[in-house]
Symmetry: C2
Subunit: 371 residues, 2 copies
DNA sequence: CTCAGTCATGACACCGGTTACCATCGCCGG
DNA sequence: CCGGCGATGGTAACCGGTGTCATGACTGAG
């Protein structure tokens, strides 16, 4: 068909035809027009309201009528227009996922866990990666939410820890769920990972193996999880008569490179630690790299423990002992909780935060101290 | 405030008040009602149509009027309702991303690349992970698209290779872009990764290093990329007088486990290969594992090359030589191409497929053959 | 000065659903 | 036999924007 090569000329000529846009030209392509609720009503010989009742499962429709209408709907393959519904319902049936996390498997797994629950409830998921250091950080998110009138949002750490953001969401009157490591909000808004307790489990593991010179590469102090893991770890070691001296604490950035650098500093000490608890798996991979370059054998010369149980953990050689977070489940729980909020149910008085407890997955990288 | 604990009782009692739903109770919470185009019109003392013109940058508004309205819009913080716009425009401004790919960084990077371009054009991204082996695979996707009346979808391999799915999309009259390794469709619908040429680059690299006994662990034959990489590799070797004998070709599954298993088989041969080209980085990690268990040193005893340049590649020790795919760019290009289609522009006669050419990133895992 | 052509704007229908409210119908007891 | 009630279905208005078309003011040519 002869297409006008009207790229976007429409806007330029101040003297185009009245206000005709190139819309129809493409719209007409579709052979059979989509059915609307009116078509169904006509076919079933009832009013559109009755059809609407059937769609929304209103009990005020005679069984026979309902059956007839349902039949027709199925036959012609009618789907109510989501935007029209959204307009009338004042609900978009869209949930946002805001993240700022370089850990791809974390995000993907959460996303997939959440989607399962969302779909079941009739919602779809819109994603929004962001950069919390950007100037337009907040306005971007605001635009994200208002642009499609999202019914609610979920946030992953570290953005989930941002109090200003949470404030903004409250002002926007936008229901939200924060995945987070500490009780920084109304428990109804939280999915909490018990990082403190998890870190204690690492301490116990290392103590049992007999380590006494233990180091930790923590995440950035601006991250709640970093603090929680550090304190949980340190306290648990103390409980067992072990200490985590300041010179054995390095502040990394939850990244591969920082892990390597911190490990380099730690392994240069004498005596050097026999075990390093890395703040996350990426950091642990950095430790591996430094050990590889320095000829330090894992786990013979050095025990390494990570956190997350990302795919990376089992790919490394030797495989990495780490803390597994049930991220998929967290996604599901976050979604369920959010949907309940959006629907206005389960908004009762005092509901505890939803919590998850990571657990240790022992692999090859941890063993008794060498010498 | 006294909340009716009306969880969802609304549906049960056949004799509730007419048909009142619990909607308003939650809606009223917001202190100041959202402004609509009517409010703006009233404030500016013009018709809503004129406000609409300003919003849509119609040239037919007097400069002074435009300024006044713009001012008011900004002052009261008005945002046009997206669902209402969508309804009137017959466009949802939503683009879907359909994937079925266990490689999280791949998906995340593509997603982020695409989002940049989509945002700029005023679209949002809705994600749909799927399981191509599920019975409801197709109907799920159909529902996904119709449920929110998506304006278009992007598909990642391997689902992108499914011809039945593409057919369905055409029938649904839903614009789509397939990210793929071969010209299986109208070029306007494709973002093509030149896997054949890339694999040839690997062959060249190995040949230059002096390898003669070279093996390949390919992906599943049902994957287009697996075939392309195999043929490209094999042909390029042949061009250089080298051969890829059948016993040095193993069919994996693009997974860590299959990589380990295939490597085990290959390394059991005698003489064994001095280099293995793994179909992707995951597979390469599997090769590392087997080498680790067998005490085979990389790269001294064995050169390993991956494909993807996922984060894993640089985390492994030794770091993995691999082919880098510009995934983020692919996301951006796919989004731009799709937006153009949706907008009806750039639909000219013959447009070549958009192609990308992965390139080699040489790291520590490749070197001259040992003995 | 008149007339045609532009530009700027408004009135109104419409997108495809929903709710509020009203009308009708069948069945019941008084 | 009639009024009343609950069950059903219809009508109109509305959600918040956009398209179409008419109209009035302004401009420049003849």
């Amino acid at each position: 068909m002869p297409r006008k090569s009207a790229t976007r000329v429409v806007r330029l000529p101040a003297k185009a035809r009245p206000e005709s846009r190139a819309a129809e030209q493409t719209a007409v392509v579709s052979a059979e027009r989509k059915h609307t609720i009116n078509d169904i009503a006509r076919l079933a010989n009832v009013s559109k309201k009755t059809v609407s009742r059937v769609i929304n499962e209103s009990p005020f429709v005679r069984e026979e009528t309902r059956k007839r209408i349902t039949e027709i709907i199925k036959r012609v393959g009618f789907t109510p227009d989501p935007q029209a519904r959204a307009l009338a319902f004042r609900r978009s049936f869209l949930i946002g996922l805001i993240y700022d996390n370089p850990n791809a498997p974390y995000v993907i797994n959460f996303q997939e866990g959440a989607l399962g629950a969302l779909r079941r409830a009739g919602y779809e998921l819109v994603v929004h990666p962001c950069d919390r250091h950007s100037e337009e950080f907040l306005s971007d998110i605001r635009r994200f939410i208002t642009r499609q009138k999202l019914d609610g949002v979920m946030m992953l750490p570290p953005v989930s820890e941002n109090p200003v953001l949470a404030d903004m969401l409250r002002k926007l009157d936008c229901p939200y769920i924060r995945v987070i490591s500490a009780a920084l909000d109304d428990p109804r808004n939280l999915i909490m990972s018990m990082d403190r307790q998890s870190a204690a489990e690492v301490a116990e593991h290392l103590a049992k193996l007999g380590h006494r010179r233990i180091a930790m590469i923590m995440g950035p102090r601006t991250f709640r999880s970093a603090i929680e893991r550090l304190e949980g770890f340190s306290n648990a070691l103390a409980d067992r008569g072990l200490s985590l001296p300041p010179e054995f604490i390095a502040e990394g950035a939850y990244t591969f490179e920082s892990g390597a650098a911190c490990a380099d500093a730690l392994l240069a000490r004498s005596p050097r630690p026999t075990a390093i608890f890395a703040g996350n798996d990426e950091t642990a991979a950095g430790v591996y790299r430094t050990a590889y370059l320095r000829g330090v054998k894992i786990p013979d010369d050095l025990t390494v423990i990570g956190f997350d149980d990302s795919p990376l953990a089992s790919r490394l050689c030797p495989s990495l002992t780490t803390m597994r977070q049930p991220i998929r489940d967290m996604g599901r729980m976050a979604a369920e909780k959010l949907v309940a909020k959006v629907a206005g149910i389960a908004d009762g008085p005092a509901i505890a935060a939803t919590t998850v407890l990571p657990h240790l997955v022992a692999r090859e990288s941890s063993g008794p101290p060498g010498k």
